[in-house]
């Protein structure tokens, strides 16, 4: 089992080692995002809100964890469609769980590198110290990874079903979640009915939890465990949906047609 997981990890290591475009995915876009939001925050801070840096910069970095982990699952598989390699992989004895596990491990690696790099830049440019969040940084990070994977599985299922036409969802779905996740503002600013929906997202509990930790220095464990519980539910639902869709895809021949699109 490990050899097959290792094979997929190796495949993406080889890919990233040689591809500037894919390395940009780890460094360039997250850094640009941090710089823009960091300086916007600096400006707002200078005119009105002195604690904005602490709230926004940290959340921008952590939003990237969710975004990249969702993309980690979807883009890696989609890449195999683009290079017409998906059938070669699907006719090997690899289990779907092994393939997904390998992709998740690659995603963890990429997210750790990106987060560490952004953390260093945030300290240098904005005097914001990510590690000041304390040990809670790990469950915050982990919860966002898990939610990214759950969303990624659902996105991937839709791509298998609807083909290239659905690829825009890779970039679109995270931005459907973002306004409800309290990344850039507290959940309290949302209308009441929308707040109820927002609290169903694990990411909302993470970002509200981070906001609270940055304000008070106290980590609300209830929020962390609620996020974890919701993540487990969404992961289970995501896996079931993906498995069901994969069955449909095999039944209707979408996999082999998608390969030729």
């Amino acid at each position: 089992m490990w050899l097959r997981i290792n094979a997929i990890i190796l495949r993406y290591f080889y890919l990233h080692r040689r591809s500037i475009a894919r390395t940009m995915e780890i460094f360039f876009w997250p850094v640009m995002n941090l710089l823009v939001w960091g300086y916007v925050t600096r400006y707002l801070e200078s005119i009105a809100a002195p604690r904005l840096v602490a709230f926004l910069v940290g959340n921008v970095i952590f939003w990237d964890v969710l975004y990249r982990s969702q993309q980690g699952i979807t883009l890696t598989i989609t890449e195999e469609f683009w290079v017409r390699n998906i059938i070669n992989i699907f006719i090997t004895p690899i289990r779907m769980t092994e393939l997904i596990a390998a992709i998740c491990i690659v995603g963890i690696g990429k997210s750790l590198i990106t987060t560490a790099f952004l953390g260093i830049l945030a300290a240098l440019f904005y005097d914001y110290h990510l590690l000041a969040l304390g040990p809670a940084i790990l469950p915050f990070f982990g919860n966002l990874l898990l939610f990214g994977w759950a969303v990624g599985l659902c996105t991937l299922a839709l791509i298998f079903r609807y083909g290239r036409a659905a690829e825009a969802l890779i970039w679109g779905i995270p931005f459907l979640i973002q306004p409800l996740s309290a990344v850039f503002y507290p959940v309290a600013v949302l209308p009441g009915w929308l707040q109820k929906i927002a609290w169903l997202l694990p990411s909302t509990h993470v970002f509200e939890g981070m906001r609270l930790a940055q304000q008070t220095g106290h980590t609300d464990m209830t929020m962390l465990f609620t996020a974890l519980g919701l993540n487990l539910v969404y992961l289970l639902l995501g896996a079931l949906y993906f498995g069901w869709m994969l069955g449909k895809v095999r039944e209707r021949g979408y996999l082999t047609r998608l390969h030729l699109e």
Binding site: R4, L15, I94, E251
Partner: protein
């Protein structure tokens, strides 16, 4: 004529009443055949006749609407993973990632087949297909002929007992195509690999295949050794027979071939 087949009495592929329906379109209808160990079995038919669908069904990439598939004594799809460890596939329509080197690609796929490999083993495999010099080249920089042979190297990584070849020589020049055919025949003789072969090149089919199955609109219309079915259809050549079936569908009064294949099962 193909080399004399190294067949045994037990079929390695048994397809019974296989049908595949995509919505209202019947891609395959009630297809039954067997293939024996060491046999090269050609799947013939026009585009859309059901050849590739058959191969995809045999690889478990799509699930049948009806019928039964047994490969190497195991049932698909229940024992798909165990079957996939012992078979492989090469097609003109799949590609290995162009931004990895040849060594990197083969190293990844060897591991996917559960095999730790080293550069010597990969070098030997590339030498077998006469492309050892491309080991450290980017896959995207290879010519069509080299890519085809690289795909075949990938297909032999796990020493498959059954090899599915979907138009393996499409887009190759006659010289390289001939070399590839020769190499496949040699490997079949040496390793007793069963090959399921699709091609639109009738000369190639006559050269390679011990038996062929003609499909038309998803149905089996003729089966048997190439020379025998040409004679039975009173055609001048396999190519003429192909064109006749393509244009007229199932025009022969005799029922589809019921001759027992070499390993005994109908």
């Amino acid at each position: 004529m193909p080399d004399s087949p190294q067949t045994t009495q037990s079929p390695v592929i048994e397809v019974i009443g296989l049908s595949k329906q995509f919505g209202s379109f019947a891609a395959l209808t009630d297809l039954s055949f067997t293939a024996c160990q060491g046999e090269i079995l050609g799947l013939l038919g026009t585009n859309g006749a059901g050849k590739t669908t058959t191969i995809h069904l045999l690889l478990g990439l799509i699930t049948p609407s009806a019928g039964r598939i047994r490969i190497l004594g195991r049932d698909l799809p229940e024992e798909r993973r165990e079957i996939l460890k012992r078979v492989n596939f090469s097609s003109a329509y799949t590609a290995l990632p162009s931004n990895l080197t040849v060594w990197e690609n083969l190293n990844v796929f060897a591991r996917l087949y559960g095999q730790r490999t080293d550069r010597k083993k990969i070098h030997d495999l590339l030498t077998l297909f006469e492309i050892p010099e491309v080991m450290d080249h980017l896959t995207g920089s290879l010519s069509s002929g080299q890519l085809t042979r690289l795909n075949l190297c990938k297909a032999f990584l796990n020493d498959p007992e059954i090899l599915f070849l979907d138009e393996p020589t499409a887009s190759l020049d006659p010289d390289i195509a001939d070399k590839v055919r020769h190499q496949l025949r040699t490997l079949r003789t040496e390793r007793r690999t069963t090959m399921i072969y699709t091609s639109h090149n009738m000369h190639e089919v006559e050269t390679m295949c011990d038996r062929v199955i003609f499909l038309s609109h998803g149905k089996l219309v003729m089966a048997g050794p190439p020379a025998a079915i040409v004679q039975r259809a009173k055609s001048a050549s396999l190519e003429e027979l192909f064109i006749s079936i393509a244009r007229n569908g199932y025009i022969y009064e005799e029922p589809p071939d019921t001759e027992k294949p070499p390993c005994g099962s109908a």
